[in-house]
Subunit: 355 residues, 2 copies
Amino acid sequence: MKIYNWGKTIIISGVLKYGAKFPSENILTRKFGFSRETVRGALENLEKEGLIERIRGSGTYVSFKIEETSKKKVGLILSYLSDYFFPRLYDGIKSIMDEENIQIELAVTKNNLNEEAYYLEKFRNMNISGIIVEGTKSSFPNPNVKLYENLIQKNIPIIFIHNHYSNMDFDSIEMSDAKCSYELTKLLIDNGHRNICGIFKYDDIQGIERYRGFMECMTEHDIIINDDFIRWYSTKDFDYKFSKSSLNSFYKKTKYCSAMIAYNDEIAYKYADFLETRSEKFFKEFSMVSFDDAVLGDRDFKIISGIHPKEKLGRLAARSIIKMLNDNDWINNNYSYRFPVAISEGNSVKKLVEK
Amino acid sequence: MKIYNWGKTIIISGVLKYGAKFPSENILTRKFGFSRETVRGALENLEKEGLIERIRGSGTYVSFKIEETSKKKVGLILSYLSDYFFPRLYDGIKSIMDEENIQIELAVTKNNLNEEAYYLEKFRNMNISGIIVEGTKSSFPNPNVKLYENLIQKNIPIIFIHNHYSNMDFDSIEMSDAKCSYELTKLLIDNGHRNICGIFKYDDIQGIERYRGFMECMTEHDIIINDDFIRWYSTKDFDYKFSKSSLNSFYKKTKYCSAMIAYNDEIAYKYADFLETRSEKFFKEFSMVSFDDAVLGDRDFKIISGIHPKEKLGRLAARSIIKMLNDNDWINNNYSYRFPVAISEGNSVKKLVEK
């Protein structure tokens, strides 16, 4: 299903356009690490749906044409598209836009401000009706203020998802990050854990909020946070901070921790994999909680995670921007929403038995 | 003077106590990189003032006794003490405390939250009348809230310097960091610079504010900030982010920049030294602005820098906490102050001639 979803997303979203070469079986096998049979099955399904065409002796090509019509267009700025839970978020948005016969104009920033600036300029020069934005480097004041102001002057409604900027006043649809983090931390404490380490992202307001919830829960339970147990990273720092040597040094500092709260499931499973190779015994006794409920791969180990509403959030964002398109006073009306806390099942939290 | 000041500070502040061994000539020569004559001169001056005693064949010892009296005590929490402008800040505080016959109880955190927690606990269990605090990791919500609340319950007045916490409501004495950054950036722009790179600190609210001022000035002049030109670091990341290989990669990304705004003079001169070894020609044409006006070493190159009020800020902080000690309603009265922008002379900004 993973390859199928990935392929469908990059084709329907227009990342790979009609006639473009689609990755070969060999490349996909290497990229996803699934068996050749699985890859072939996914390609067959994509072909059945008319998304790709396999031409013997030549290769596989995209056979799906995005209609270039006079449809209403809504801009969608996301940090990522084809990985993690993003395909499901996109599906949610797409399903509503399709119902309303609205075309999505897609932009992917990789959390880079230059990309955000580029797409905001592009949208201004297009006939775009509204924009759904996931903010870039949202923990810092945003330098593209003027570009946003230009769009407002053209009366183009804008709604944020996941986050928002401290130096602008847009409505946003978000998770209850701090509250969710509070509940996850409480779960660890209720299971006897006090030495809890954490990895958080500092260039994203969700990272700061998730730290805040953790911090407030620890404080309320009179547990002092050990500074050496906290690790901050950013999009730019990622490769360095998750290199083996860097993780090793964090592992050594947190040897007396019995649990971890991780910024999201990507990080959590990355650290779990590292731990397992480092010390299987330690890993077996170690507890973890995390965010987004985006299960990665097939494992026995399922992390208890704050649930990201995925399609649901996508649908609500799409419905909200559509309402805003028909609301002359969108700028004064409230379209913000916080999804209540929901926490997934899992087997990643163990009761700590005092020795 | 540097060794003398350093020695005096660590003795008078009680870091090295009466009878403790003072570093030898050899060690000081290595530590500061001055000549043996300079080191000897400094030691002679310290001896003349009765701060140290040199015993032939044995070594050098601290001969200054801090009076252990029933004096009123004020706690002072600083991130650093013996480097940068901190001795001058300390001198300012000390001068007022001496006038008022108040003893300083000193704590140095190195921007580590464990140290902050340790000293706050210690102060609670001591007979302390008030506290001057430089916040630790001030850009993040602070986890030592309860320790601060305990002190308030004991009616111990607290005032912050340099920064403050977003999740507590204390008065603070600060520089106008964002405004100062705006003016420094404007100076660069007025001299024709548009491709400006920046290095900022992310675990300190001063870092975020200095970024904000830079960002607002760029935005107002319709210059879009290039994400690749911005580098963030923290206390924990320092060694990695200022390693030669890491600076090299930043240098390559910013080759088309004609100017830089640096978080402070320590960083600015560090980068200047790096640039000079990397490409003398580039360095000669490169412009820099920075903060704190803490000249480091003797150089031809003097960076234009936002002036930190040093002794002045120290004296104001001391006077404020003393007033608060005599104010039953200190918690409701306003003791906050922002020093107005002041910018130093220097030769680090060159007019950019279009080629």
